[in-house]
Symmetry: C2
Subunit: 503 residues, 2 copies
């Protein structure tokens, strides 16, 4: 029998400076929604990635949660678990290798401390909450290949994110090869190399340890990691976009086994799934099925379109992850009955590609239009850079003018209806986008239009604020508004009006 152990608190320990825990005899603690890890070592021969099955059942009172483990190289097997209930948990491993089978232990799960709200779930039909009930108002950004840029740039990205308004980051598991992103990563997900070929049956633990460190660092910044499992920006250069089906499936199971215990993980089956010409439509259903079966915590699952949309109505899709303008968010809410996240709505920047050169004004407008149709939006930035360090691909620092306005908008969201913003019937809604919560709270937005006044018919008594979403000012309208009333507006674009019912 190998040496048994466990590891806890992925948030405190770097995979580079790993503490191995004492034997299972110790009564260990892990906080709720944090990572508890059972570690087993064994003299492994052959290919332990494929030859040996290993996992554990985690037991809490009457519940048993089966969780697949994974081989981490050097004879080490691990199974990671994210307990969701405080109290005493027990576990027992299983394996077709006798030395790894039947190892039992227990640990105490402690109440989540402040700042740990658990994983994000769909709530109230079109919105999100953390597992502890705290509302989560998605404000995303994209750095596809940031985790493949080496420590210096990656740490700068984390530093930038710590000051930025974003609470979700879209990022690729596989490295990315595309215009402005031609460098090779330090690590590759599989054993082998591009010239002589990859062994898709053997994962490269160094790659994965590095990657999951980055995921855990995002978690510690309060940022959800929307992990893009497949993408077309490979074009056969490495060939991770065209692996055999059994390699795809093995990869998915391995990724889920390693990463699902991080509470900030979301699964994105692909970026621009329909641009992956080597795959069949049915493959995507299978990928969803595998992730759904493997993930004990049922993290959010989406799939991001190029031109053609996957059917977000399928039951395993938890929310719409959309590349599009934000004007039709209301339509998609009605069509799919799920939260709508416009993850990609063109990028603020100056590159020549037409999806990468909108102004900051337009980026902020798209955020507000998405919000005022009851959806959520994602940011991205593509300013030309002498060394090709574009935020959208590599991270680094932000150059644009939209993030501070997005931060301003996030504060408005956080001060709005707790469950989020839903379209409200509005008496003259043809003049504005309108969301809120019934009659209690109404947020109107005029985008590029610049009315100098607006006549409203109000069903109750309201306090109003004129919000300049670009200048980031909130100016109370004098008095209490009631009945048919003409509200003066600044006659500039990017103005919103917030109406809150007098209690």
């Amino acid at each position: 029998m190998g040496r048994a152990g466990f590891r806890i608190g992925g948030s405190e320990t770097s995979v580079y400076g790993r503490r191995e825990m004492a034997t299972s005899g110790d009564r260990q603690q892990v906080e709720q929604w944090d990572v508890f890890e059972v570690v087993q070592e064994v003299q492994a021969e052959g290919n332990p990635f494929t030859d040996i099955e290993f996992g554990a059942r985690f037991l809490y009172k009457h519940r048993a949660v089966p969780v697949d483990g994974f081989y981490d190289g050097d004879g080490v097997f691990r199974v990671r678990f994210m307990p969701d209930v405080p109290g005493r948990w027990r576990y027992e491993t299983w394996s077709d290798c006798a030395e790894l089978d039947g190892v039992a232990g227990e640990f105490v799960c402690t109440e989540a401390p402040e700042g740990n709200h658990g994983p994000v779930r769909v709530a109230d039909g079109f919105h999100f909450r953390y597992a502890d009930g705290t509302p989560y108002y998605q404000v995303g950004t994209t750095c596809y290949a940031w985790a493949h840029q080496g420590d210096e740039l990656e740490e700068q990205t984390l530093e930038t994110l710590s000051e930025a308004p974003f609470n979700k980051l879209r990022m690729c598991v596989f490295p990315k090869r595309y215009r402005y992103s031609r460098n090779e990563p330090e690590h590759y997900p599989f054993e082998g190399n591009r010239e002589e070929g990859w062994d898709f049956t053997r994962f490269n633990p160094a790659f994965w340890r590095h990657f999951e460190t980055r995921v855990s660092q995002l978690r510690d910044l309060g940022i959800e990691a929307d992990l893009i499992l497949f993408h077309p920006y490979d074009g056969g250069h490495w060939g991770f976009d065209r692996m055999p089906a059994e390699a795809d499936d093995r990869y998915l199971r391995y990724a889920v086994a390693r990463l699902a215990a991080y509470r900030n993980v979301w699964w994105s089956m692909a970026n621009e799934w329909d641009f992956m010409g080597e795959k069949e439509d049915g493959d995507w259903d299978r990928y969803f099925r595998i992730v759904r079966e493997e993930d004990p915590y049922q993290h959010l699952r989406g799939i991001h379109n190029g031109r053609r949309w996957y059917d977000h109505g399928k039951p395993w899709v938890t929310h719409c992850s959309v590349q599009a303008g934000t004007d039709d968010v209301g339509k998609w809410r009605r069509q799919y009955g799920k939260p709508v996240v416009v993850d990609e709505t063109l990028y603020e920047g100056t590159i020549s590609e037409p999806w990468g050169n909108i102004t900051a004004e337009e980026m902020v407008r798209r955020f507000w239009v998405g919000l005022t149709h009851g959806g959520y939006v994602g940011h991205g930035e593509t300013y030309l850079h002498p060394d090709d360090i574009l935020w959208w691909s590599k991270g680094g620092v932000l150059h644009g003018e939209s993030p501070e306005r997005i931060a301003f908008m996030r504060r408005i969201m956080e001060g709005g209806p707790e469950r989020g913003f839903d379209p409200v019937p509005w008496w003259r809604s043809w003049k504005a986008h309108a969301v809120g919560k019934g009659d209690d709270y109404i947020l109107l937005y005029w985008g590029v239009r610049q009315p100098g006044e607006m006549t409203l018919e109000l069903p109750a008594r309201y306090r109003a604020d004129v919000i300049d979403t670009w200048e980031m000012t909130i100016t109370p309208v004098e008095g209490v508004l009631e009945g048919e009333v003409t509200v003066p507006l600044p006659g500039r674009p990017y103005i919103a009006l917030r109406l809150r019912k007098e209690q």
Copy 2:
């Protein structure tokens, strides 16, 4: 027999200070495309508007042009004629009133002097030229009711137009009643009044003399008058939007008889024709037929939509007069095979109506998008005003920032391909709107996008200019461009690039 006479040169004589010409024995001169008028007086009884037919045949060599006359009150009948060929012309009146019948005379038509190019015609499929072959690049604006505001404001409007970039004005024949436009006009087109009713069989000459003076003053400023014959902004207040069919038809014949000899006239059957709920679809075909039959000069004919489009493919429609955004101009060119004029594409201003509060930037952008799809665009302005004097309705002065940019664009048009701008095949046209003339001249426009560079594949050697359509600057790109070349761009919105082939 009554006293016969004629009048010439509508451009020099005010209808208020009319000179009656000497008898037909004098050999009179009129310049090409100007107004020659035969005047007959008679002791009229009954209702001369309906009881007496009057007209004349104008004869040039083998040609005979029959032209209907009209009764102008006080026993005066007139027939107006716009000769299109220099030389000796003869005429002979006809009438079912013996005293008005068979009056003959002649005049000499002189070559048009500089500045008089004749009426505007469709040319080269999608463009316009004056009758003398000079290109006409339509740059429109709208002052629906400017000619019903009294002399002071009307003269201010003319003063404004004399400095403005516009060479076409859309204006209503009938007075307009709508928000911001509640005042009664000084004159009405018919005898009678609102309270006791109108006599649709008797026109009010004072109204028409005033109106045609304004038309002639526009002509003298080089501005085409796009006369809107019907409109819904009456709502039954006067009832000119719901006259009996015979009154409609009589009105059209009278309007054409009075106005067609003014070379700057265009006929617009209606503004927002589909919002005129009292009319049948078939009525519009009939109106077109009447105007087409009555107008000896075949001035341009269009009809302007609200939501529903009239079929601009019908043969009597000379050009598409559109209310819409300008992005689809290329599609309508292909669909109808006619010039596309987006006469109304929202208005620069601050009123609460969503069609009346775009920014100057957006107005200018729409002009450039229309241009770079091979079409023509119209301006309008609706800034809130303490006395409700909004340019779009009443004229007055311009408050906005778009006109000087439109003037700048007009200069670019005038320096472009003589026949106008047509879509050009472009190797990477997905990155820009592209028009020009074959390979010789290419104009690219990026609208709100702000690329910092653009890689082009050029089929020849070109000189290039970066045009900032908002800042109104033209900056030559250094050197001669050839082959695949990356052109630096400012990374700001509203940039165009002009490429002219090196000879």
